[in-house]
Symmetry: C2
Subunit: 233 residues, 2 copies
């Protein structure tokens, strides 16, 4: 009988924002897997580290830092094969996922390679949008408002159109796209409604009005925009 594949959301970064279920399943795991950068660091593992038992088998999936698709796909192919080998001998495996596994997460690349052949259980996690809203202390959406979540990686024209048609907006993965997003928001007179957050819920988090944001943003940064005038009042 094959093992079961767990995709475990760890939340946005503060280890205390992991769910009770995630902590229980990580503690009980005999084999874990997680994405790792070429530098050898794994954000997912660092969030979970206090719950990982001694002697657990660890599969680090090294993800190349390349914008090209092929090297990353090759890395997920290799990682999925390692996980498959564990599942086929009947051992369960817990994949550690930053944030929520199904919300822009790399777990999807493993899920797509393995979910047809093995039983899967997803444990949802607190996503970065909720985390950023809690940090800036601004509600995301109320009542009949629409929330649009857009990656900053979109071409400027697409991004501009999405933002123009939206009410409340979360711009994900800002990083090197910061100036493009700023220009779009400024052109739409939205700078006064925009907040910038980086590394939400981590010790080195930053949060401020977008107008005061630094010139260089890390990958884990977000811009929240609410066009409404405190519509939840």
């Amino acid at each position: 009988m094959n093992g079961k594949l767990y995709g475990i959301g760890l939340g946005p970064g503060d280890p205390e924002l992991m769910t009770l279920k995630a902590a229980r399943l990580i503690k009980a795991a005999t084999c874990i897997a997680y994405p790792m950068l070429e530098t050898g660091t794994s954000f997912a593992r660092s969030i979970a580290q206090d719950h990982i038992a001694d002697g657990v088998r660890e599969i680090a999936i090294e993800i190349p830092m390349s914008v090209a698709r092929k090297p990353a796909q090759d890395a997920y192919d290799k990682g999925a094969e390692e996980i498959r080998a564990v599942l086929e001998v009947g051992q369960d495996i817990v994949v550690l996922c930053e944030g929520d596994p199904f919300f822009y997460g790399s777990f999807m690349y493993l899920f797509s390679r393995l979910s047809e052949d093995f039983e899967v259980q997803i444990v949802p996690g607190v996503n970065s949008v909720s985390a950023c809203a809690s940090v800036v202390e601004r509600p995301l959406v109320a009542r009949s408002e629409v929330l649009t979540i857009v990656p900053a990686t979109l071409p400027a024209d697409d991004l501009s159109e999405k933002i123009a048609n939206a009410e409340a907006i979360a711009v994900m993965k800002v990083g090197r796209h910061l100036n493009k997003v700023k220009d779009i928001l400024a052109a739409q007179n939205l700078m006064d409604f925009a907040h910038y957050v980086e590394r939400a819920t981590l010790p080195n988090q930053k949060a401020m009005p977008l107008a005061d944001a630094p010139d260089v943003a890390p990958y884990f940064s977000m811009i929240l925009v609410s066009k409404g005038n405190d519509p939840w009042l």
Copy 2:
């Protein structure tokens, strides 16, 4: 010195999907508050109940089941005044919030009445969108996809336009709007891409392709639509 107001996200319903931080703060609380229906039941309290210490002071904010705004606003006025009285004598208070406090949550109505006068800390929670995606085992968004979250309470024309312009869609608060949403999705040939979920992560949850959904949906139901053909592959 005034007490501090905590808005604590409890996640979608399974008590194990609460964060470690939420559980710790609830356990330590000496005063809690939560919304309650006229029937005397509180979904938020039921999620948190195993962590509530004996002898804790409880403020139940009775929310009238009316579509009119005024009775609910009066209820939040009254609840906010009760909370204010606790904070003003220097006691902290933990407000229990279903899901995430800033994601369509009733906590916003208390926040708007109290946040200018008192220190607030928000603890984000797993939201229902991530919960529903985990239940149907379908990724929400990957790479440069846009996620649009729309309440089913919108007028049909607005809802139809939002859905037409979106990629991945979560339709919230389906309830009595089920047939309206179904008609819109059918008209846009999206029925085959839509999943229905009610009471996600609770013992009585249901999840199925929208085409097989029951005729009557509870308030806590959602429809997830992904127009892509497994774009995460």
